[in-house]
Structures are given as C-alpha cells and as structure tokens.
C-alpha cells in the first residue's frame, strides 16, 4: 500500500471522526420553545440572588411564550470564563460584563443603541453610558451601580478614642490604635490591598490611569499613593490570610478586623451582624491635595453579536433591565445592596434612605471613579505587578510605574491597530 493513499485515508477518517463527535453536541433547547436564550451571570454571594434571576427568566417566558431563557450561574473566575466562551460558537446569548474595547473590535458584542430612546438615555447616569460606549455606540445596559466603602465599627473607634479617618495619615494612626491581639485594625484583602486599592489609592491622590487615550498613571502622585499603602502594610495591623477576600464581609462581621474596605453589596449582611454599630467612609484622601475616592462599578448586560438570536436577546435585555423597574428594584435591594442604575428607579427605593446606604451612594456620586473601556486586563496585570512590587515588596516606585506604563502603552497601541 502506498503511503500517500494511507494519508489521504487518515484525513478522511479524521474528518469523519471529528464530524461524528461534533454531531453529538448540539445546543440544548427547552421543550416547546422556539428560541432558547442562554444568559450568564457571575456568582453573586448574597442569598436568594440565584433564585431571583431564575424567577425573572421564567416570568419572561410566561409573557413571551416560545422564548425560553436558560440561566447559567458561574462561580469562580467569571471574566476569564466569559471571555473564553465568547470565542466559541457556544457562547451565551445574553451576559453581564464590563465592556472592554477589544470585545467591540473583535465583534463579540452587539450594539444596543436602538434600545436607548432619548428619554431612556436621559434616565441613565452619563458615566454609566460612557463606560458602555466605544466609538459612539452603546454596547451595554448598566444593570446597577456598585460601590465600596470603608466600613468601621463605631463602638470600637470610640473605645480606642479615634475619629473616623479622613486622610491616609489619620487612617494609619487609627489602624494602629485599633489593632489588638485578637482583632486586626483593618482588612483590605489578603494581598494587603493590591487588588482592592490598586485604582482607589491613586484616585485618592488625584491621579488617574487612562484619560483620552493616554496612559497617565506614571507620576509621583501614584507613587506616593502606593507608598502610603506600603506604610499601611508596614503597621502590621492589616488582616491577612483570611479565608475570604475583601468583597466578602466576614472579616468585619466575625470581628476579625475593626474596619474593612468592602462593597455596599455586603451591607445587608453587615447590618444583620452588627446592627447600627457601623459607619461608612469613602477611601481617605492621600493628603491635603488629594480627595476621598471610591469606585463607580457594577455590571452591564450585553448581547453576543455572534448569537443566532440577537434580536430576541436584545428584546429580553430591554424587558429585564430597562422596562421592568420592579424587577430591577427587587434585584438591587431584596438580597444584597446595589444602587439601581437609573435615577428614576433609585428615587423610589426606600431602602436607599437609611443612613449607611445613603452615605455610601452619595459618596459614589461625588467621589466615584470608573475606568474607560479602553483599559483592559493586560494593562491591569501590568499595573498589578507594579503595585505588588511597590506596596508589598517595597521596591522603588518610580521605576516600577515607568515599566508598567511602558507596557500599557504597547498594549494600548496594539489595541488601536
């Protein structure tokens, strides 16, 4: 037998085998449904959230027979899993995400401009529209606004005789005083604040990261901000090595730390554990030239441009995150605590009038920052490395920031190709 013939046979067999394997895995549809939309959420930690989104999906099907929604709840590293799934043919039709420019360039997300009539557009925070826009088109519907706060135990501060800290030096002094043998002064995450403060600290110094297409963080203010967090770490009063990270309130509620930087989403759990013995602050200003800072975060709902059912997906997104104010309110305020993205909905929310949420929401409006869609994960890795070297290992800040900025510039240039 001639070798070349055998090779051809192999190719044939290989194609056949691959085809047979592929045939075995079509998309699974709900019985009786004309269209099944797959919708992805990351795992929310608050009890009841998963049942809630399943309920919304069922309600949509009831109102729109023929359209089933398959909700998928993803614990763990959501953004990597989502990014990976969007590369394939089996990606979700509807998903929550934070918009990044490469998603648009690669044609992964469908433009949603037609969902935004002028009245609806006017009812969204301009910042929330901005972070979902690339090249003048809107790709995401902001579902809700998230923010974080420096929570403190009022009683413990009183006992230690410290005022709620408004500057970094005051915070460092307070943390030292609050630190005891069995309770640390402050929890900002198990990595000493690299993950949670990487943006917040420079913002509190008046610096920023990517403005009008330019990398701007390579400056002495960013350096000073990270060096201050190094000083905070050096107090030895930060809680490290807790089972969960800064986004979970356990460290505060279990009394492992007197203060914690965590999300407003955790407020219900904190209130349940500590009652009124808790106050909130924005992250303190670096110094007199700085301003307090927090983030304006949250998730946006997007539609997969590769989906065979883009129109149905868009209708569903419109129904859930634009039309159904009642569901948005339920989602934001019945389980964890999020600020509804649209002022008209937020205004009707009584829960927002309590002191702590009101203060936190106010701080978000005044001091909240967000990163533009052109800031991406590769830049974040570069900055995280620099921040780790500066604020954990104490390496000279200037060189580290210059390095990171150079790398971010390259990434930015490549993105614009």
């Amino acid at each position: 037998m001639n070798l070349s013939i055998s090779r051809r046979q192999f190719l044939k067999t290989a194609t056949f085998a691959a085809g047979a394997l592929l045939a075995g895995c079509g998309p699974k549809g709900a019985p009786g449904a004309r269209v099944t939309l797959t919708q992805w959420y990351h795992q929310y930690g608050e009890t009841g959230t998963q049942d809630a989104v399943l309920r919304y999906a069922r309600e949509y099907t009831k109102q729109h027979p023929g359209i089933a929604v398959r909700v998928i709840w993803i614990p763990g590293d959501y953004s990597t899993k989502l990014g990976t799934a969007l590369l394939t043919r089996n990606g979700p039709d509807v998903f929550e995400s934070t918009l990044s420019e490469p998603m648009v360039t690669a044609g992964e997300v469908a433009p949603l401009d037609d969902l935004f009539t002028p009245e609806i557009r006017a009812d969204f925070n301009p910042k929330d529209l901005e972070i979902n826009s690339v090249g003048g088109r809107i790709y995401g519907v902001k579902m809700f606004d998230d923010t974080a706060a420096l929570y403190y135990r009022k009683s413990l501060l009183e006992k230690a005789g410290v005022d709620p800290p408004r500057t970094m030096d005051a915070l460092i002094a307070a943390v030292k005083k609050l630190n005891t043998d069995d309770r640390k002064g402050l929890f900002v995450g198990n990595d000493g604040g690299v993950g949670s403060l990487i943006n917040i600290a420079p913002w509190s110094a008046g610096s920023d990261f990517l403005v009008d297409g330019h990398i701007v963080f390579d400056n002495p203010r960013t350096a000073a901000a990270y060096e201050k967090v190094l000083e905070l770490n050096a107090t030895g009063a930060l809680l490290l090595g807790a089972p969960t990270d800064w986004y979970d309130p356990s460290a505060l509620t279990q009394g492992l730390a007197a203060m914690q930087w965590t999300g407003l989403w955790a407020y219900p759990a904190i209130r349940k554990a500590l009652g009124d013995d808790v106050g909130v602050l924005p992250w303190p200003a670096l110094d007199a030239q700085g301003t307090p800072a927090t983030f304006l975060g949250g998730w946006s709902s997007m539609v997969n441009a590769q989906s065979p059912n883009v129109d149905e997906a868009k209708k569903y997104v419109k129904w859930l995150w634009i039309e159904r104010a009642d569901l948005q309110k339920d989602w934001c305020l019945s389980y964890g605590f999020h600020v509804p993205a649209r002022p008209s909905v937020a205004r009707t929310a009584d829960a927002l009038r309590a002191t702590v949420p009101q203060t936190a929401a106010h701080n978000m409006t005044v001091y909240g920052h967000a990163l533009p869609p052109s800031w991406n994960s590769a830049m974040n890795t570069a900055l995280t490395d620099a921040a780790t070297h500066i604020l954990k290992e104490g390496r000279p800040a200037a060189g580290e920031l210059a390095n990171a900025a150079r790398k971010c510039e390259i990434v930015l240039r490549r993105m614009q190709e």
Binding site: G193, A378, K407
Partner: protein, 319 residues
C-alpha cells in the same frame, strides 16, 4: 500524578522485527490509526496552529491571520513579567528538585530496610500521591497554613508566643514559599520513593556482601560507594521527571496564591510561566503572545531535558 518521560530515557533503536506476514501494512495502520489521528488532531495540529497564532496579532480571537512577524516573541522576551516567571520557575525548581530527590531517596532507604511493617510505611508515604493538587492546595491554604489563629500551623506556634502568621500574604520573610514547597513535597515524594525502592531492590546483594568482605562499614560507606552509584540511573530519572513537572507547575500556584483576579497581589508574588500564559491567553485574550510564550517555554523545557542526557551521557544505559 501525570507522568512525562524524560527524553533521555527514550530508546530509538528499531526492534528486531519478525518477518512480515500478508496484510501487515493494513493491520499496522488499523492498529495505530486511533492514536495517530488523536495525536495529530490534539497535539500536532495545535502546534502548527499555535505557531501561526504566535506570528499573529490575535486579540480576542483564536484565528491566525493578522500576521505581525516575530513581534509576539520579542514582546514576550522583553516582558519583565514573563522573564520573572521564568526566574520564578528556575528558583522554584532549585528548591523542589533536590529536596524531592533527597527526601524520596531518604524515605526509600528508611522504608526498604524496615523489617517490620514495610508495606504499611510504604502505603502511608505513597498515599498522598492519590490526592490532587487542587485538594492539597485547599487543605494547605484554608486549614494548615491559614493566616488566622485557627490555622493548624499557627495553632502549633501559639504556645511559643508567636502571633498568627499570614503564611500566604507575608513577603518578609516570604513564607508563601514554605507553603508552596511543602505542598508539592507532600504530594510527590511518595511517588518517587516507590521508584527508588524499585531501584534499591535491583542492586545485587552480592555487591554489599563483597563490600562487607572488603571491610566497608555498613551505613554511610556502603551508601556512598555502592547504593548511590548503583542508583545513578534511577536518580537521573527521578530528577528529570521532577524537573519537567516543576517547570509545568500551575495548580498549586493558581489555587494557593490566587488566580483569576482574587488576591491579585499575592498571585504576582510568585507566578510560574504556565500561570502567566494562562492569564495572557485566557485572561487577557491575547492568543498571539500566549502562543509565543508557550513556544519559548517548550523550547526551554526541551533544552533542559535534552542537554543533561547529551552532556553526561546519563540515562543511556537505563534498563
């Protein structure tokens, strides 16, 4: 316990074959077809595809096409984070490889000569090999080296007046290395111990008897002049298997230091190449640079596994 072969062990000499019978060609291809197709589709095609990707600007796409020459390679080779990950890999190997070699040989010697309960001891040391890196990482991070007072290590230190140590988050001294090294030792020492025990059993008893006649003291002298030289090839196998495995470390770094955005600052303290490639390719969705990095790493591993064998002619006579 994934096993990879040290290259130097591979014998390439063609076997003495029986006379061909009718239908030999057909039978041969039928028998190798499943494996051949599988290896082509899942190893060779990816290598070709990956090579094209490594020459492409492939942001948020797995399709090569936007060719940019060797730019991804120069990007990676000038990327401080990638170079640091290679340094991390080398440093880590310098710790883990000799330690594993020494401990597994030591255990093998202890267990092999234990007249009583030999199979019991063997089982006890070998059984951690059944546990996954993920599971072990969980135990290490959440229970054994938990940073709070309810971590086991901290509990043992408490009577000495030592405050709870945040093993994973502390950089000075870098306790996280203790966590990372001990977890791998626990998982793999038993496996290599088994290989050493097999090696020990192949040493002819007559060698020891002859040495005794020549007046060699049992213990250090026989170990130095008989046991170790006789275990030369086994040692070489163990070192190479171990080195290849260490170069591909991922699971425990990802799970103990935190992958996927969680405790990002700890993850960048010690990031081996596979973790960096995972974050570049799947996290940043930059498949061009991810593929280029994969090829650089592959070349390094091939070099490291080929050179010692060529240089010292070791492993050749391995039976």
């Amino acid at each position: 316990m994934a096993v990879t072969a040290p290259l130097s062990k591979i014998k390439t000499a063609a076997p003495a074959r029986p006379r061909p019978k009718p239908g030999a060609n057909l039978a041969f291809w039928a028998f190798v077809a499943p494996s051949l197709i599988g290896l082509i589709v899942f190893t060779l095609v990816p290598i070709g595809w990956g090579f094209l990707l490594s020459l492409s600007h492939a942001q948020n796409t797995i399709h090569p096409g936007h060719y940019v020459g060797l730019r991804n390679y120069t990007d990676m080779l000038t990327d401080e984070a990638f170079l640091r990950s290679l340094v991390t890999m080398v440093l880590y190997s310098l710790f883990i490889v000799p330690l594993t070699w020494g401990m597994s040989l030591g255990l093998a010697l202890l267990v092999d000569k234990a007249g009583w309960g030999k199979s019991f001891w063997r089982t006890v040391f070998f059984i951690p090999s059944a546990v996954s890196y993920v599971v072990a990482s969980l135990i290490w991070r959440i229970s054994l080296f938990n940073g709070l007072s309810f971590g086991f290590a901290n509990h043992l230190l408490a009577p000495f007046g030592i405050h709870p140590i945040a093993w994973v988050g502390t950089v000075d001294p870098p306790w996280y290395w203790l966590v990372l090294v001990t977890v791998r030792l626990w998982l793999q020492v038993g496996f290599y111990m088994i290989i050493f025990i097999a090696g020990l059993q192949e040493i002819p008893k007559s060698l020891y008897e002859a040495a005794a006649v020549d007046g060699a003291a049992p213990g250090w002298q026989t170990l130095r002049y008989i046991t170790l030289p006789q275990l030369r090839n086994t040692s070489f196998s163990v070192l190479m298997l171990n080195l290849i495995a260490a170069f591909q470390a991922f699971d425990e770094f990802y799970n103990i230091l935190g992958g996927g955005g969680q405790s990002a600052g700890n993850a960048s303290l010690a990031r081996p190449p596979l973790v960096y490639l995972y974050s570049t390719a799947l996290g940043d969705q930059d498949f061009g640079r991810g593929a280029a990095g994969a090829f650089i790493l592959t070349a390094l591993i091939c070099a490291v596994t080929l050179i010692p064998g060529k240089l010292f002619g070791l492993g050749r006579a391995d039976k």
